[in-house]
């Protein structure tokens, strides 16, 4: 990954429609929250619960919501921050017999030797597997934070190009998703995937490569905030500190080669207090100097502030004005530093705060493509199912096939996991002044609508006798009063929309879909009750299915559905 790639974006420029309507400058004059990080003391009801779940997971899984209803806010946040057990690794879904390295279908390949024939299939296997983790993990922040770190320490699989290193790199992000930022940074620095991605393995005393040293400061720690003033000399000296690291292609680990290390002293600018990192030699030199470098970077106020701003833009909103800087960013950075870069105390403060729960901060995030694809699966509690009659147990090839479809769909909406556009991550998280609006253009918005449309048809998405489809009846049954069309529309709108809509609109949705234009609610009630009384009656079943499908399609086609 060469730095110049940063200036050659892989994503298309704004299309004409987007360019016309997206921010041309950061919006000013919007009504903003004046609240800070003081604990939220208002009501703890569905509105707040749904807001918290939308931001900390993908979509709102109704089982999660039911659990949250039994908890206080503090208990919910504590539960979100509990580190869940690590998932079983991805398996061979790509061959019908043992692959060239002897890995049988259903067995994991993450401990098998690299093999160029199956390398691409394994990378695809890992991406598909990741989707299942995002869809199925109950009430936890880990998968959103794994994505956060993937966007923060962004790497691209085609450049790492080794599925073992790719998997290990991402296992590290998941392992530390709710861990210590400084320790994660240390490990990422020495991670073979990152060493290859940013040429760290080519950084030697005779031919220093500044690539990683630059991104370490610009994108991973100090950032480019208004008070960031590191110098080009600082980049050069950090690169000297990092000389000598190499990759062992057999063990998929990194090691330090002291003969390639620059043993001289490294002097930094006044921005870093004119710090001098003493040059060392011998087997431990690399690690000791790296520790000194990280101590220097993490002693700087900018690192915590940079992380606080990134967390804010990931979880709250993209506009950081003077008030947000003062009321949220500065104190959040303090919490991060006071806890020695453990990440959960800061997340706990943020998700318990009055600022987070201010209605002005609700519904203002534009869903990422993953919020759309994974979010839909979680909202409707769906995953791959068999279309065989009677249903057959799914093979790994079938299950991964469905998850791969979700990967393809997200990718078509311009978020390809494993392949962010460059080392800076996805522009929606950093590109001023458009930020989130980058997700929505003349190509991606229709694709979002087509995706949700397909999911609420009767056949959904089908491949290899496997299907992903919304079971509209099962979904309606999750609500307390599915026979009452007014209550059902209210409940569904509250679940699927992050912003309130007018009674007029709800009535029109109800009449246009559930009531087929009829004026009286009881016609839906009768149809629903007729189905419940005789679920095997095809006509009775179709009568409710088509109307629920029409309702969901209309709801998910509206702009409101794109907000979280």
């Amino acid at each position: 990954m060469q730095r110049r790639d940063l200036f050659r974006p892989k994503t298309a420029a704004l299309d004409a429609v987007q360019a016309e309507y997206a921010n041309r400058t950061l919006p000013s004059g919007l009504e903003r929250s004046s609240a800070g990080l003081e604990p939220y003391a208002g009501p703890w009801g569905d509105e707040q619960m749904l807001h918290l779940l939308r931001r900390t997971t993908f979509g709102v899984n109704l089982t999660d919501l039911a659990l949250v209803r039994t908890k206080t806010l503090a208990e919910t946040v504590a539960q979100l921050l509990v580190v869940p057990p690590l998932p079983a690794p991805p398996v061979n879904n790509y061959s019908s017999t043992a692959d060239p390295t002897g890995v049988f279908p259903g067995a994991t390949w993450v401990t098998a030797a690299y093999n160029s024939t199956v390398n691409g299939s394994r990378t695809a296997s890992w991406k598909a597997w990741w989707f299942n983790e995002m869809i199925t993990l109950p009430l936890s922040l880990r998968e959103k934070m794994t994505l956060f770190w993937h966007n923060h320490f962004a790497t691209e699989t085609p450049i790492i190009d080794n599925s073992r290193d790719i998997y290990n790199h991402h296992a590290l992000l998941r392992q530390f998703a709710l861990g210590n930022f400084k320790e994660l940074t240390r490990r990422v620095t020495l991670d073979p995937g990152m060493l290859r991605y940013l040429n760290g393995n080519a950084n030697t005393k005779s031919a220093p490569d500044e690539n990683y040293a630059r991104e370490l400061q610009e994108l991973f720690t100090i950032g480019k905030g208004p008070d960031s003033r590191y110098t080009e000399e600082d980049v050069k000296n950090a690169a000297r500190v990092l000389t000598g690291w190499r990759i062992n292609g057999t063990t998929y680990t990194s090691y330090f080669d002291s003969t390639r290390h620059d043993t001289g002293n490294k002097s930094f600018s006044s921005f870093y207090g004119s710090k001098v990192i003493t040059g060392r030699s011998g087997a431990t030199a690399g690690e000791l100097e790296l520790n000194d470098l990280l101590d220097m970077l993490f002693a700087n106020d900018e690192t915590a502030k940079f992380l606080a701003r990134k967390l804010y833009r990931f979880f709250v909103y993209y506009i950081i004005d003077a008030a947000v800087e003062q009321n949220v960013i500065t104190p959040l950075a303090q919490v991060i530093r006071q806890n020695n870069y453990e990440i959960t105390p800061a997340l706990s403060v943020l998700f318990n705060s009055a600022h987070f729960f201010d209605p002005l901060n609700m519904g203002c995030v534009i869903k990422t493509p993953l919020d759309v694809t994974v979010g839909l699966c979680r909202e409707f509690g769906i995953n791959a199912v068999s279309t065989a009659v009677p249903p057959a147990a799914l093979t790994d090839a079938q299950r991964y096939g469905i998850w791969d479809h979700l990967r393809t769909q997200s990718s078509a909406m311009q978020m390809h996991i494993g392949e962010p556009p460059n080392v800076a991550g996805w522009p929606a998280y950093y590109q001023e002044p458009q930020f989130y609006e980058i997700w929505i253009n003349a190509d991606t918005l229709p694709k979002r609508n087509q995706f949700t449309d397909t999911m609420v048809t009767t056949s959904g998405y089908t491949r290899s006798s496997t299907r992903l489809v919304v079971d509209v009846i099962a979904y309606a049954k999750r609500f307390p009063a599915p026979a009452d069309p007014t209550a059902l529309v209210n409940d569904i709108v509250r679940h699927l929309y992050a912003i309130p809509v007018s009674e007029t609109l709800k009535t029109s949705l109800k009449t246009g879909s559930l009531l087929s234009g009829q004026a009286s609610d009881h016609y839906w009630t009768d149809a629903w009750n007729a189905y419940i009384a005789n679920p095997s009656d095809t006509q009775a079943k179709n009568a409710v299915i088509t109307r629920l499908q029409a309702l969901l399609k209309a709801l998910m086609n509206a702009a409101e559905y794109q907000l979280a």
Binding site: V17, C364, L509, Q518, A519, D526, R547
Partner: protein, 508 residues
Amino acid sequence: MLIGGFTVKAFGRSPLLESLVAAATETDRVLVLIQLNGGNDGLNTVIPLSEYTNLSKARAGILIPEAKVLKLTDATGLHPSLSGLADLYANGRLAIVQSVGYPNPSYSHFRATDIWLTASDANQNLSSGWMGRYLNEEYPQFPDAYPNTVMPDPLAIQIGSSISPGLQGPEVSMGMTITDPTKFYQLVTGMVDPAPNTPAGHELTFIRQVSQQTQQYAAVIKNAASKAANLSTRYPSSPDHTLGDQLKVVARLIAGGLKTRIYVVTLGGFDTHSNQVVAGATETGTHATLLGRLSKAIAAFQDDLALLKVDHRVVGMTFSEFGRRILSNASGGTDHGSAAPLIVFGKGINAGIIGSNPIIPSTVTAANNLPMQYDFRSVYASILRDWFGVPQQELESVLLRGFQSLPIIAAPTGVGRTAITPDSVTLRQNYPNPFNPSTRLQFTVADGPVQIKLFNSAGQEVMTIREGSYPAGTHEVWVDGSSLSSGVYYCRLQQGAEVRTIMMTLIR
């Protein structure tokens, strides 16, 4: 395969090929469906005066006083709120088909609506709608190959928040929706619904703007709207007249040149179980109000179409999922019934009454319902065959079997139409020829839509010379070849099934 004298093979699988194949039913005609939700009381809409004595026994509380009925014939009249429709009848623009229904009728709104929209038998479940199947036959490969030069516009437009099951094709919906007239005017002006001045409101507005502009047909709809304004002053004013508001949009889009074949609009509230009329003044009340809105809206729409000079292209039809019971109930209303009259209007129809008055028994109980005279699918079949020119084989695949035809649409020799015969269509050799850069074409056609296109010697379409309706007779058009290079070109004229081709040479 030869079409019009040159091989189609060279075209490959192009939209042009599709158009040539589908050209058997090339038409600029439009159908407007007005769905009356709730089950309209047919007996108080088209009143069988010949049965008045028995009617007054069965539904004394709600029957319209005989003197107030608007008489169409001695035996049959309209509800007094339908004066607009009575005028259309008098002017030869309105037909009534009596007692339309189907065997073993359903009295459930949902089921009956689904039957009407899918054109199924009472005991049959279909997942596609009759209009969807028709449009799928006409425009195969929708939506993948669309929009294209042959069909740049929506195949069907529904005004309403969710798309009608009637427009559902075998795989995808063949129609687009315009949520309501307000959304249409927003699209035309580029406005969106107001949102609060908050972060969420800011992003919502942005997404709405992109959404509006990325609706596949936004540009063609805006373009059509910019080409025509409503000319009739007879549209009733909002907010109660939602049907009139919907039809205003439809008239503007038709006159603006959209090739869209089907429009669906709705008027709800016909489920008049109680207080259908005001006691003691039965010509007033809920049903009278609804019929008044229907009548005013249709009359204004027809007036508008005539002023916009597109009335020869448009036929409209009302339908409701069922009629209501003969016997009125104790709540001043009527319960769900079966067969009911259906109204067709337009310049191209045979005005009059098809069928006879329903027979009302002298003793009527709640079990009595009107028997059907005509299957609703006969009405569909007649319109598809006689209005859209759908051949019999295609008709049977749309309606799943054959249905007898009714004389709803004026015969090809009827009002405003001359027959297209081999003799009525000619295309003379252009003059001058060879030419540079322009040349004159003279052609004779029957009344109706004509398409003239220019192809190069490789068979590729290079220009649409004319596409639109002509009155019967001889016409002239200049072809401007200044954007073309020297060579041999084929000029092809098609009207209905008749195709004429001439060869011309451009020398620059």
